[in-house]
């Protein structure tokens, strides 16, 4: 190859990696970025969104405390990611269906799952998964990737039935390496499913950093392979998260097929309470992200508008703490789950073998 040919080829190769749009509306200094998308939130909506975010942060803090006190089982906290979770959800309708991961129990509560169920979920009680009528979602998914193919299927059902409903699902940066991730976005693309796929890029899959997951410069560009749009958002910017998700919802409802959104965020805490993040990341890195915390810029932005103050924030914290305490107590009072009942749940009608096992365990449980 001549030098000239080599350069030509190199240029061609560089072009093959698609650039994706990046959206930010409220920057690190709480200044509105005046190009591209603008916020459409009214002051009332801004306050409602802020209340959600403070609620989410408080739930995280309270859950961590409950975890440390041994009142719940192991917990994957999501401090730092609440905007990525709750500002995206804020753009969805109550009738939209949510497929969460194990780290998305907080948005699932926001979507209608009672707090008591959340506590029971962390404790490993089946009652957690029985969602009240009208809550559109599945319990948190532990297998990484399954929810993406399922969301493609449900989004297709909505499309077939002409429903004003969207399937919405989260995955992590690690999860975007999983085969189901691609199968999900690809199927959704082919069948023009009404699905919004969100990759919460919190920079780590347990200890493995984002750049060890993929050589792709963005995760959003993976959408290009499925022929669907991909877009990257500042995951610490609730205004951008809301705006992009809202438009993605409208886009898919207009019959254009699914959208993939990558949110650039960070998990401040450990992967789970039994994880030690100092083994794989530095204090400097954490500090940098703590400065980017959406809470700082939202307090400033809403404060400057005169629609938010410390008292309002404290009130949400107090209410949430109370809500959490009540949920913990209510979960304490939940009857113990019975093996005989679990056996009843395997099939609609127990098989003869299971019917015998039910009798056996009922006898055991009487004693």
């Amino acid at each position: 190859m001549t030098t000239k040919e080599f350069k030509l080829f190199n240029d061609m190769m560089k072009k093959s990696a698609d650039a994706v749009p990046f959206v930010q509306i409220l920057d690190e200094n709480a200044k509105l970025v005046n190009k591209g998308l603008k916020s459409s939130l009214t002051d009332d909506e801004l306050v409602a969104l802020m209340k959600n975010l403070v609620w989410g942060r408080t739930v995280n803090e309270r859950l961590i405390l409950a975890g440390r006190q041994g009142r719940i089982g192991n917990l994957p906290p999501s401090e730092g990611q609440e905007a990525s979770q709750l500002a995206t959800l804020f753009a969805m309708k109550k009738t939209d269906f949510l497929f969460p991961t194990y780290r998305d129990v907080i948005p699932l509560i926001s979507h209608g799952m009672p707090m008591k169920n959340a506590v029971l979920w962390y404790r490993g009680h089946v009652a957690a998964n029985i969602l009240p009528e009208g809550v559109h979602g599945l319990p948190a998914q532990v297998i990484i990737g399954s929810q993406y193919v399922q969301a493609a299927g449900l989004g297709m059902a909505y499309k077939r039935d002409g429903k004003d409903q969207v399937a919405m699902t989260y995955i992590g940066d690690g999860g975007s390496s999983q085969g189901d991730f691609y199968e999900g976005i690809n199927f959704a693309g082919v069948f023009e499913s009404q699905t919004v796929f969100i990759v919460q890029n919190n920079q780590y899959g347990i200890s493995v950093p984002r750049d060890m997951q993929s050589k792709a410069p963005t995760l959003a560009q993976k959408a290009a392979a499925a022929g669907i749009p991909g877009i990257q958002v500042d995951g610490m910017d609730p205004l951008a998260l809301y705006e992009v998700t809202k438009l993605a919802r409208e886009y898919t409802m207009a019959g254009n097929g699914p959208v993939l959104i990558e949110t650039l965020t960070y998990r401040f805490g450990p992967h789970t309470l039994s994880d030690d993040p100092t083994r794989y990341r530095t204090q400097e890195e954490l500090d940098e992200w703590l400065e980017k915390d959406f809470m700082i810029r939202m307090r400033k932005h809403l404060g400057e508008k005169g629609i938010w103050n410390e008292e309002m924030e404290q009130e949400v914290i107090n209410q949430t703490t109370e809500e959490m305490n009540e949920a913990l107590d209510a979960a304490d009072n939940e009857p113990k789950q019975k093996v005989s009942q679990l056996l009843r749940n395997v099939f609609e009608v127990p098989t003869p073998r299971i019917a015998k096992e039910i009798k056996m365990y009922e006898l055991k449980e009487e004693n």
Partner: protein
């Protein structure tokens, strides 16, 4: 009543069910325009619309996940996995997700998905097309594995599977597709799941089997009966969870039993059946439990199939051994 083969019987069951319930969807690789690589869904997309009998991208996990999502949206999907070995690509979807959905939802909702696939030796397919995976998957709670042994059963069992509100893995033996012809009623009918079929009654010994081995057993029985041996033949129909009560009742009557499967000794459901018999009828047995199975290699390359697969002769030998004990 018309004489039909299994392909026609399955096509008829699918078509009639889809005509009855518009929420049923059939999809998979090549099932739409092409009518399936074995023509099982032939003509269905013309009759029912290409939006109800349609092709998917080539991705088994995607197919399984889509089925689950559609079921969550109130549909009754009947996806096809072209060949059983490819189900490996979708085990999470099948066993991790579909099979445990009702359980994880506290019994409040099930996912009515019937996954159809082909399997079975004797037709010389390439690797990983014919593998008997029923034993592997039978170890998962929450899913039924149904294997018809002929056209009549295929239609009735598939109809019952589709109407059932729990997931079913419906396995169609490749060798039976066109080799067995039977009278099959035009109208739709159900054969109950979870019930074994006593194909013929006998008093000396019981053969418990399923799928293609039902026919090999029948051949063996023909020659055994010439020597005055009276054989009770049980076709499991629902292979998992299997109908232990029918098996035990028969074994208690005959006192002798041979369990026959095409799958390797390691897999198949024979192990489980033998354990149940040992547990439930030990003292009524007059001989040890006999077993016919393939050896514990991976499924054989085509040229070795005829030796590897159990057949009427192996069955006959084992029955004679068990009778002699």
């Amino acid at each position: 009543m018309a004489i039909k083969n299994m392909v026609q019987a399955i096509n008829e069951a699918l078509t009639q069910e889809m005509e009855r319930d518009e929420r049923i969807l059939v999809f998979g690789e090549d099932v739409g325009t092409n009518g399936g690589v074995f023509r099982v869904t032939d003509g269905m997309s013309d009759k029912l619309g290409i939006d109800r009998v349609f092709d998917t991208p080539l991705a088994e996990s995607g197919i399984m996940g889509m089925a689950m999502g559609l079921a969550l949206g109130g549909y009754r999907p009947v996806p096809e996995i072209q060949f059983s070995g490819f189900t490996m690509e979708a085990i999470d979807g099948l066993l991790g997700q579909l099979a445990r959905h009702r359980y994880r939802m506290g019994g409040t909702e099930g996912v009515p998905v019937t996954v159809r696939s082909t399997f079975g030796g004797g037709v010389g397919t390439p690797e990983l097309h014919s593998d008997n995976l029923e034993g592997l998957f039978s170890q998962s709670p929450g899913i039924r594995i149904v294997i018809p042994s002929g056209p009549y059963d295929a239609k009735g069992l598939l109809t019952a599977s589709i109407r059932n509100n729990d997931p079913v893995y419906f396995l169609e033996h490749l060798k039976l597709y066109r080799s067995i012809k039977e009278e099959v009623p035009e109208e739709s009918y159900e054969i109950p799941l979870d019930k074994a079929h006593v194909v013929q009654e006998g008093t000396d010994i019981t053969i418990v089997t399923y799928g293609a081995m039902v026919h090999e057993s029948k051949k063996a029985i023909e020659s055994l009966e010439k020597d005055g041996i009276s054989i009770e033949l049980i076709d499991l129909r629902t292979v998992a969870p299997f109908d232990i009560d029918t098996i035990l009742a028969s074994v208690k009557k005959t006192g002798r039993v041979v369990v026959v499967q095409e799958a390797q000794r390691l897999t198949g459901v024979g192990n489980q059946i033998m354990a149940e018999i040992a547990e439930g009828a030990m003292y009524e047995l007059e001989a040890s439990i006999g077993r016919v199975a393939a050896p514990d290699s991976h499924f054989p390359f085509g040229q070795a199939e005829s030796v590897w697969l159990p057949n009427a002769k192996t069955i006959e030998e084992q029955v004679r051994n068990t009778m002699a004990e």
